[in-house]
Amino acid sequence: MELLIAIIIGVLTACGVYLSLRGRTFPVVLGLTFLSYAVNLFLLVMGRLTIGSPPIISDKVANYADPLPQALVLTAIVISFGMTAFVIILSLKSFLEMGNDQVDGKHRP
């Protein structure tokens, strides 16, 4: 299971890095989204993978999942969600103002 998660994070990061190095804004936005997926998954598994153990104290169980990474990942998801929305609007604005979707913004009126 650990190996599978590690491979998923690695593949997501690789896709993210590749796409964010592209020359058009849409692949760059997708790349940033992939990177934020990868990092969210990474943060979650930093509390170690556990099955069937709750993060909240109760009398019935002895093993607990670490609740902190779950809180961290929630914060990170909210922030990356907001940032993605912002960067999409900004790339649309840039497309409308430059007349093309190149990241370099070569202006052809």
Partner: protein, 513 residues
Amino acid sequence: MTSHIVIFPVVLPLLAGILLLLLPRQHLPLRRTTSLTSVFLQLATAGFLLNTVNNGEILAYALGNWSPPFGIVLVADRLAVWMLVVTALVAASALLYALRGTDNSGAHFHALFQLQLFGLNGAFLTGDLFNLFVFFEILLLASYSLLLHGGGRLKTKAGLHFVVINLVGSTLFLFAVGTLYGLLGTLNMADLAVKVTQAPAEDIALIHIAGLLLFAVFALKAALLPLYLWLPAAYAYTTATVAALFAIMTKVGAYSILRVYTLIFGAQAGSVSNLIESWLLPLALLTLTVGVLGTLASTRLRQQIAYLVIASIGTLLAAFGMNTEAGIAAGLFYLPHSTFAAAALFLLADCISNRRDVMEDQFEPGPVIQQQRLLGALFFIFAALIAGLPPLSGFIGKFLILNAAMSHSALPWIMGTILITGLFTLIALARGGSMMFYRAQAPHICRIDTSSDMPRSGMSVTAELTPVLCLLVLCIALVIWAGTITEFTTGTASQLLQPELYIQSVLNLEVKP
């Protein structure tokens, strides 16, 4: 009441920002008054805190009364409060300049300005690594919108690059924070500093990687050498007010480097001690060189000032990179000087470019500038100030840095780079100044462009230059009270190099029931 004073600089701009969102848009005087009141209250709070921590006390504040290391703490030590004071002073000057009309050229300027201050103050005060990430995001999101304030094609292009590179930086920050949490099981900076000394040998390599990833993120924020390319365009094309406020933004990166690498990866951190010592000084000197080369190659005044910001961050981090008490103290003296001077130059460049019609701030002989004697004199003073000529504050800052370098093994490199780049800065600024002031042509080509967004009629030059003069007075105050300030920064440096003080005051914090 006084125990809650630590949270004031964070809550005040947040509440003011929310209030400003609720106020009606057309009621400009009310919004201006709210914004100004908030900034001056922050200034007063920062002054009060400065007075409190001056005796070496470290104030820790447990948010929500959760005892550290489980809850988030805010920590006001000398360094944090020093940064708060500098931020409040720069923000007050930038805001005074914005009141001349820039604040009305787009929606929600004041709310964004306050939220930017919320992020800045929070980043300086927080004692938790993940919370530092959150405050970074807050200040960045506000800065993205402020950067685009007023609109325009060049701003959008520079803004897109700025946003994308900072989003990648945030991702790296989260990877580093996640790795540290996975290995050490804590995110409280004081607790991290304790845990890092007890880390098992097989984790050391990973902690190394996480520490260096964090350095890459902070270097990106500080615009250190390979990661500075976003800065010149972003700072050159945005509105003058925003550029002046952004003069403090690169210092957040420098602050984080100083905080994390003295506290967590400092001299006492066992096998990861002095993690970035071999990196910081060479990179800082290279940044200084590249920054000054940039000032020589600039074709516009605003671009030149943006490169001066890069050069000043190089000087600052070279001082921090010496990793001695004298070096850090000299850097902390140089920090407010470089921030004030850069902010004032951005505002002054806007005054000049408003008077040059279509030539704006390009280095081409343009029309004769109105009030050319006054503006020329101010430009001359600030050029001398930032190039480090005596008797102004830049000279004292650089003198302290060189003095601190005397006992350092890399002395020839530090002294050679700082002195030669100082000369080149002077040449670059002299070239720009003579192009704009001496080679100006006859006034008949000067036609007043009425479509400009800056209202020119009814705006006296005194009102325009008040913020610039305020910043000049602050720089002169740095010279007059140099002795007192050096004492304070030396105290700050010695406090930073004894991280056990910080650790004790956070981990032994008594939470009141």
